[in-house]
C-alpha cells in the first residue's frame, strides 16, 4: 500500500499489521500502555550474579526472545558482543536484537546472523551489520529503524516486547541503581535504556565499576533491576566519546554554517529566551558556535540548548548564553564531565524530549535546530538512513522529533559530496517528511519551504541568498554526470518508522542498476 507520501510500504510483516504514515501529527493514540509482570523482593535478597551466562540462565532467556541494549558506549561498547556470544555458546538461537544502535565494533554480529543466533534486528545498524543486512535475505524479518522517541513509544505501547534488557553502566551498585555519568568508563547518560528497564520482563545491569549503595544519579533504578553483573571491562574508553569534536575547517561547510546562523538571526526567533538544538556533526557544530557568538554580540540569554552534549555547548552554558543544557547523550568527554558538576546541565531521557505518545516533548519547546541529511529532495523530504546506492547507513537519532518540534528546522548540507549530488528529485528513503522542514541550507544558498512564506520574507529582507531548491539542484547537477540509480526489488530490508509508529518508508533490496 502507499502512504500519504506515495511511498510503497508492506501491509504486514509477520503478525504485525502496519499503519501507513498519514502526516506528522495525524495519528491519535488510544488504549493503555503495556506493562511488565509484577514482582516483589524481600529485604536482604541478592541481585549480584557472577557472569553474563548466569544472568542469561537466571532471566530464563531462551531461543526466539528479544533482548535490548543502549548505544551510549557507541563504538566502544563491549556488552552487545559479550551477551550474544554467550547466548551462542549456550545454544540460544533465533534472537531478536533490540539495540538503540549498532556500531562497527558490533561486526561480529554478522557471524551470528549467518549462524542463526540472531534472526531479527530492530535498531539502527551503522557499519558492517548494516552493509550485510542491506544485501537482503539475511534476516527473518525486515529490520525496523526508529527514532529515539519512536523507540521509547514502541516499548511503552507494547509494539516491541522486551524479554531481557541488558544495560551497560559505567557505575552501578549491587542493588541495581546505575548510571553512565560516573565510573572508570563514564559515557554520559544511559537514559536511552530507562524505558527498557521499566518495560522488559527482566532487567540486567552490567557494570565494570561496582560502587557502594547508593550509586547515583538513579538513571536506572533499583526497583526496575532484577540482576547485576560485574565484568572486567564494559567498553573501550577511547572509542566511547571523542576527546574534543573538531569544528569543520572546510570553507564550503563553514559557509553553510554561517548561512545557517545568519538564517537563525534573520528568523526573528533569536531573542531573550531563545532555545536551540546543537548538533555534533561538523556543520552543525560550527553553526552552533556562530549562533553562540551572535547571542554574545547581541547580549541575548537563551532559555536552553539541547544536546547531544559537546564541549562547545558546555562553553555556551558557562559563558551565560543559555540558562540550561538539556542532554540525553554526551558526545565528548567535556560534556560528560560537565554533567557531574553543573546542575544546569540537565540529564533527560528520550521519553522526556521526544515521545509522540506523551503529554509533552522538549523538542516542541525548541526555537531552532540544525540537522544533517544524506539526501534531500524537491519536496523537502529528508533521508538520513540510506546512501544513494540504497545501503543502510545511519540511525534516525532524534532527527524526526527535533524537526517535528522546532519552530525553525534547518537542514544543513553541502550540495555535493564529492561527485554525489545531495539534492535529488526524490530521496532514496524518507526519514523525515518535508512538512516539518523549514529550510534547506547549502553553500549555494537557502531554500525555504513554500509553507513558510513568512520566513522567506524575513530572509530576503535580511539580504540572505534565498534560492529555489530546484535552482540549486540544477547548479550542482551541472558539475557532474548524474550517478546511476539503483533498481529496487520487492524484498523489504528495513522499515522506517515515523516517530508515531506509522511506516514512513520501506528500504528495499538493490537488485540492479539503471
Amino acid at each position: 500500500m502507499k502512504n500519504v507520501l506515495g511511498r510503497d510500504i508492506p501491509e504486514k510483516i509477520g503478525d504485525r499489521v502496519l499503519q501507513p504514515f498519514a502526516g506528522a501529527f495525524a495519528r491519535v493514540p488510544s488504549g493503555r500502555k503495556a506493562a511488565r509482570p509484577q514482582k516483589t523482593i524481600k529485604p536482604g535478597e541478592n541481585k549480584l550474579l557472577g557472569s553474563i551466562e548466569e544472568a542469561i540462565e537466571a532471566t530464563g532467556l531462551k531461543s526466539g526472545m528479544t533482548i535490548s541494549f543502549h548505544h551510549s558506549f557507541r563504538n566502544g561498547d563491549y556488552l552487545v558482543n559479550m551477551v550474544v556470544d554467550a547466548c551462542a555458546r549456550m545454544g540460544i538461537k533465533d534472537l531478536r536484537l533490540f539495540p538503540t544502535a549498532l556500531f562497527p565494533i558490533h561486526a561480529p554480529i554478522v557471524e551470528h546472523i549467518k549462524n542463526g543466533v540472531v534472526t531479527r534486528i530492530e535498531g539502527s545498524m551503522n557499519g558492517p551489520v548494516g552493509a550485510f543486512v542491506s544485501q537482503g535475505g539475511k534476516l527473518k524479518e525486515p529490520g525496523v529503524l526508529r527514532s529515539h522517541g519512536g523507540r521509547w513509544r514502541a516499548v511503552e505501547a507494547g509494539d516491541v516486547h522486551i524479554d531481557v534488557a541488558f544495560i551497560a553502566a559505567s557505575q552501578a551498585d549491587a542493588y541495581g541503581n546505575a548510571n553512565g555519568i560516573y565510573g572508570k568508563t563514564s559515557c554520559g547518560p544511559i537514559s536511552f535504556s530507562t524505558v527498557d528497564a521499566q518495560y522488559a520482563d527482566k532487567t540486567v545491569v552490567v557494570t565494570n565499576d561496582l560502587a557502594p549503595y547508593p550509586a547515583y544519579p538513579f538513571e536506572i533504578q533499583q526497583g526496575w533491576t532484577d540482576y547485576v553483573v560485574v565484568v572486567d571491562e564494559i567498553g573501550d574508553p577511547d572509542s566511547i566519546a571523542s576527546g574534543t569534536l573538531r569544528i569543520t575547517r572546510s570553507p564550503t561547510r563553514l559557509r553553510i554554517a554561517r548561512l545557517a546562523a545568519a538564517a537563525v538571526k534573520a528568523s526573528g526567533y533569536l531573542k531573550d529566551g531563545f532555545s536551540f538544538q546543537g548538533g555534533a556533526g561538523g556543520i552543525s557544530l560550527a553553526a552552533t558556535k556562530f549562533v553562540g557568538e551572535e547571542m554574545e554580540r547581541a547580549g541575548i540569554v537563551g532559555n536552553f540548548a539541547m544536546g547531544g552534549g559537546t564541549k562547545l555547548l558546555v562553553d555556551i552554558l558557562h559563558r551565560g548564553l543559555v540558562r540550561a543544557i538539556l542532554d540525553g547523550q554526551a558526545f565528548d568527554l567535556a560534556a560528560a564531565e560537565s554533567m557531574r558538576h553543573d546542575q544546569n546541565h540537565v540529564l533527560m531521557d528520550p521519553g522526556h524530549y521526544a515521545n509522540y505518545d506523551s503529554r509533552g516533548c522538549s523538542t516542541y519547546m525548541l526555537d531552532a535546530a540544525f540537522l544533517g541529511a544524506t539526501e534531500v529532495d524537491l519536496d523537502f523530504n529528508v533521508n538520513v538512513n540510506t546512501h544513494s546506492d540504497g545501503q543502510l547507513l545511519h540511525g534516525i537519532g532524534g532527527h524526526q522529533e527535533v524537526a517535528a518540534g522546532a519552530k525553525l528546522t534547518l537542514i544543513t548540507v553541502p550540495s555535493l559530496r564529492g561527485r554525489l549530488p545531495v539534492i535529488v528529485d526524490r530521496v532514496t528513503t524518507v526519514t523525515t517528511p518535508g512538512e516539518v522542514i523549514d529550510a534547506i541550507v547549502t553553500e549555494r544558498g537557502i531554500a525555504v519551504n513554500p509553507k513558510r512564506e513568512d520566513l522567506k520574507e524575513r530572509f530576503v529582507a535580511s539580504g540572505l541568498p534565498v534560492r529555489g531548491l530546484a535552482e540549486m539542484k540544477a547548479e550542482a547537477d551541472r558539475l557532474t554526470q548524474p550517478p546511476r540509480k539503483p533498481i529496487f526489488g520487492d524484498e523489504v530490508i528495513a522499515l522506517i518508522e515515523w516517530r508515531d509508529g506509522t511506516i514512513i518508508d520501506a528500504v528495499r533490496r538493490v537488485e540492479g542498476w539503471e
Partner: protein
C-alpha cells in the same frame, strides 16, 4: 615529450590520470563506487578524448571525488604531455559582464592547482575571485594548473573572476594562451615594475581577444606592486593602459625586495604611494593579504588601517577572511545617515543658490560631499548582500 604521463593527485576532489601512447584508444576508470559513478565517469572521459581528437592512448583514471571539470582537465593535461601537438580543448561560453568601478572589497585567492580548494570558490561572497597560477603553484604543476583553471572557468559562473598569471618573462604567455580560451574578466600581473610591463600584457591580451572572439579591450588588468621599483613607478603603472581598473599591493615580496620587516611603518610609504597613484589614475587601490588566517582581530585591525589610508579593498587567502573585511568596509548606520544629511543639505543649498553651507559648524566642501556620496553609494550597493 614522453611516452607516458601522470597528472593529478590522490586527494579529495581530485583524480589521477595516467596516459600512455598506445596503438589504440583505451579507457579504464577506477572509482570509489563503480555502481554509482562508473558510467558517468566513462562518459566524461570519452567526451573529452573525442574533443581532443580521439588520439591513440591508453588512459587510466583513478577518481577521488573529482567533479567533471577536474576529470576533463586532468585528462587533457595528461594527454598533452604525451602528445604535445594535440588539439586544445575549448568550450563556447558566455561570461557575464562586469564594470570598471565594481565593488572590489575582497579579492579571494585560490591556488590554481588544487581542486579541493577550488570547489565552490565562487560561492563565498568575495567581490572577486583570483585564480592563481603564480606563487601557489609549484613548477612541476604549472601546465596542469593552467589547464585546470581553464576548465573551471568553462564550467562555473563567477560574479567576477581574475587569473594571476606568471610573469610574461617566464610562463605568463603560456598561461594567457590557455586561460583566455575561457575568457576571465581580468588578468592579474604580478611584480609589475613599469608601464611597459602593463603595455606588453595589454598587447598580448588584444591579440588573444581577437583570436578568441572576445570584445576588444574588455579584459581588465590588475597590476600587483610588490617590489621597490614597482612602488617607485606606481604612477606610470596605474595609468599605463585603459584596461587597468585596479592596482594591488603585495607586501610579502615587497618586504623581501627592499629588506624590510613586515611592520606597519615599513609598509606605509609603499601603501600611501600606491593609493595616490591609483587616485591620480582614477582606478581602485587594493591592499595586500593578511597571512594569519586564524587572527581575525589582526585582520580587522589591519583592514581598518588600510581603509583609512584610502584602499577600497584587500586580498583574502581564505574565505573566512571575507566577512571581517567586508565588515570593515560596511558604513555604519550613523555614517550613512550623516552622509544622506550632507547630500540633502548640499542639494538644498545648491537649489537656493547658497554658496557655502555647514552642518554642526562643519563646512560642507566638495571633498566632504564626494565622500558622503561614496558612503551612500556603498550602502545602497550593500543592500543586497548579507556579508
Amino acid at each position: 615529450m614522453s611516452e607516458q604521463a601522470a597528472v593529478g593527485a590522490a586527494n579529495k576532489g581530485d583524480c589521477i590520470v595516467r596516459a600512455v601512447v598506445s596503438d589504440k584508444l583505451e579507457v579504464k576508470v577506477q572509482t570509489s563506487s563503480e555502481d554509482l559513478f562508473g558510467t558517468g565517469l566513462k562518459v566524461v572521459v570519452e567526451e573529452t578524448l573525442s574533443a581532443l581528437g580521439s588520439p591513440k592512448v591508453r588512459v587510466d583514471v583513478e577518481e577521488h571525488g573529482a567533479l567533471d571539470y577536474v576529470i576533463r582537465a586532468r585528462v587533457e593535461a595528461a594527454l598533452r604531455r604525451v602528445l604535445p601537438e594535440l588539439a586544445v580543448w575549448r568550450k563556447e561560453i558566455e561570461r557575464g559582464r562586469t564594470g570598471r568601478d565594481r565593488l572590489r572589497r575582497t579579492r579571494l585567492y585560490a591556488p590554481g592547482n588544487n581542486p579541493r580548494l577550488l570547489a565552490g570558490i565562487e560561492l563565498h561572497g568575495a567581490d572577486c575571485v583570483l585564480l592563481d597560477l603564480e606563487d601557489s603553484v609549484p613548477l612541476a604543476e604549472k601546465s596542469s594548473a593552467r589547464i585546470l583553471v581553464k576548465h573551471l572557468l568553462s564550467d562555473v559562473d563567477f560574479p567576477e573572476v581574475w587569473v594571476r598569471i606568471n610573469p610574461l618573462s617566464t610562463y605568463g604567455r603560456d598561461d594567457l594562451a590557455e586561460v583566455m580560451l575561457a575568457r576571465p574578466h581580468g588578468i592579474c600581473l604580478p611584480k609589475a615594475e613599469s608601464a611597459d610591463d602593463v603595455k606588453e600584457l595589454s598587447e598580448e591580451l588584444a591579440r588573444l581577444e581577437h583570436e578568441n572572439g572576445i570584445d576588444p579591450g574588455s579584459t581588465f588588468i590588475m597590476p600587483i606592486i610588490e617590489t621597490g621599483k614597482g612602488v617607485l613607478h606606481a604612477e606610470e603603472i596605474a595609468s599605463a593602459d585603459e584596461r587597468v581598473v585596479i592596482m594591488a599591493f603585495g607586501a610579502e615580496d615587497y618586504t623581501r625586495d627592499v629588506g624590510a620587516r613586515r611592520t606597519r611603518d615599513a609598509l606605509l610609504y609603499a601603501r600611501s604611494r600606491i593609493v595616490a597613484a591609483c587616485a591620480a589614475a582614477g582606478i581602485q587601490a587594493s591592499d595586500t593579504v593578511y597571512a594569519d588566517v586564524d587572527d581575525e582581530e589582526g585582520l580587522i585591525d589591519e583592514t581598518k588601517h588600510i581603509r583609512d589610508l584610502g584602499f577600497v579593498g584587500k586580498g583574502a587567502i581564505n574565505p573566512r577572511q571575507i566577512e571581517p573585511i567586508h565588515g570593515v568596509f560596511r558604513p555604519t548606520d550613523e555614517e550613512v545617515e550623516q552622509a544622506r544629511k550632507i547630500i540633502s543639505v548640499a542639494r538644498e543649498a545648491e537649489e537656493k543658490g547658497i554658496g557655502a553651507v555647514a552642518i554642526g559648524g562643519k563646512m560642507i566642501d566638495r571633498p566632504v560631499l564626494e565622500r558622503a556620496k561614496r558612503t551612500v553609494d556603498l550602502a545602497d550597493r550593500l543592500q543586497e548582500g548579507w556579508l
